[in-house]
Symmetry: C2
Subunit: 203 residues, 2 copies
């Protein structure tokens, strides 16, 4: 079956070619302004060819979106070095925020954009998100076990922490934070997260 191996390799190469072109164009000009023809032009194939490797435009960007989660997960690995769960939780938020602000287009795809309905099964909903949130939930649970956050439940508390950091970065990415007084506050996301940490420390 040496032949079909080469076949698979060739196919995979084109698939990654498409993905590379899509990523390049997407990071340069955003999702909406990246057309299938743009991608096809860049890899010098006809538009129709792409559809033999991806069901539709969403499928391409769903693949990229998965890449983003792998990278985010990779950045979270260093957290295993942090013993105290509350400190780990705080560091987690910092990593999350850094990733989001450094890769805002990717973050957009991962957490802000409308999910393509077709690409998500009802049975296995959003596996990538589950991995990230699972890590958060575990850390929050450890905090509770150690006596932090008295009177809180793990599920709502985890969601709240996630919401706080997601809110900060997504309002920033979507430029809704122009309402902030820049004289009084240069790095609104950073300082806002410090404010949040102060709340956590008092609990």
């Amino acid at each position: 079956m040496g032949i079909s191996e080469r076949k698979d390799r060739g196919k995979l190469e084109l698939k990654t070619q498409i993905l590379n072109a899509a990523r390049k164009l997407f990071l340069e000009q955003g999702f909406d302004k990246t057309s299938m023809r743009n991608i096809a032009d860049l890899i010098e194939y006809s538009p129709g060819t792409i559809y033999h490797h991806f069901a539709d435009k969403n499928a391409i960007f769903y693949a990229l979106h998965s890449e983003g989660f792998r990278e985010l997960g990779r950045r979270m690995i260093v957290l295993s070095a942090v013993g105290d769960p509350l400190e780990r939780l705080k560091a987690m938020g910092k990593i999350y925020i850094h990733y989001a602000l450094e890769n805002s287009d990717m973050y957009d795809l991962m957490f802000i954009k409308e999910e393509p309905v077709d690409s998500v099964d009802d049975d296995k909903p959003w596996e990538e998100g589950n991995d990230v949130f699972g890590g958060l939930r575990m850390t929050v649970q450890e905090c509770i076990d150690k006596g932090y956050f008295e009177g809180h439940q793990v599920e709502p508390l985890s969601y709240m922490v996630w919401s706080a950091v997601h809110g900060m970065v997504s309002l920033h990415i979507r430029k809704r934070c122009d309402v902030i007084d820049h004289a009084a506050c240069t790095d609104i996301v950073g300082e806002s997260y410090e404010s949040f940490i102060k709340l956590l420390d008092k609990s």
Copy 2:
């Protein structure tokens, strides 16, 4: 000038006709799936006519988005009855969340969707948002004045509070909260907000 009055009235009527049709279609099928021709068909005018009342598609939905802010502001009026600023702050969040979940498409337009770059002047950035955030900032300032939130600054703290509620509702609207264990938590946004309030109360 009785004639030009009638003229203005007629023009305004068509303008609101367009707005009504746009709102109806938008709430039924969303922004992207609502086309200019759809709107034109509904009011039985040609597509070109719309462009004599609105610069482009964004202008129409920017007008709707302004409506949304007026409604949200209207709902905030009852807060003047709440004397204690911390209680007022908490009630503010509740109203915000309720509005967002009841009018999720509108909220999408107001806080999640990419702002059309052209519709925002650099000098007067996002007036509507300023009004809402101004109310939040004032209440937070009052809290600080009364001795709550020791060691916090008004600007980052306000942004943090806003981020928390925005995060909760926007993750919910964009269906990113499927990662939550529904057995342990039926109303994730509500319970998560309760968790947040507990943090505020301890500060």
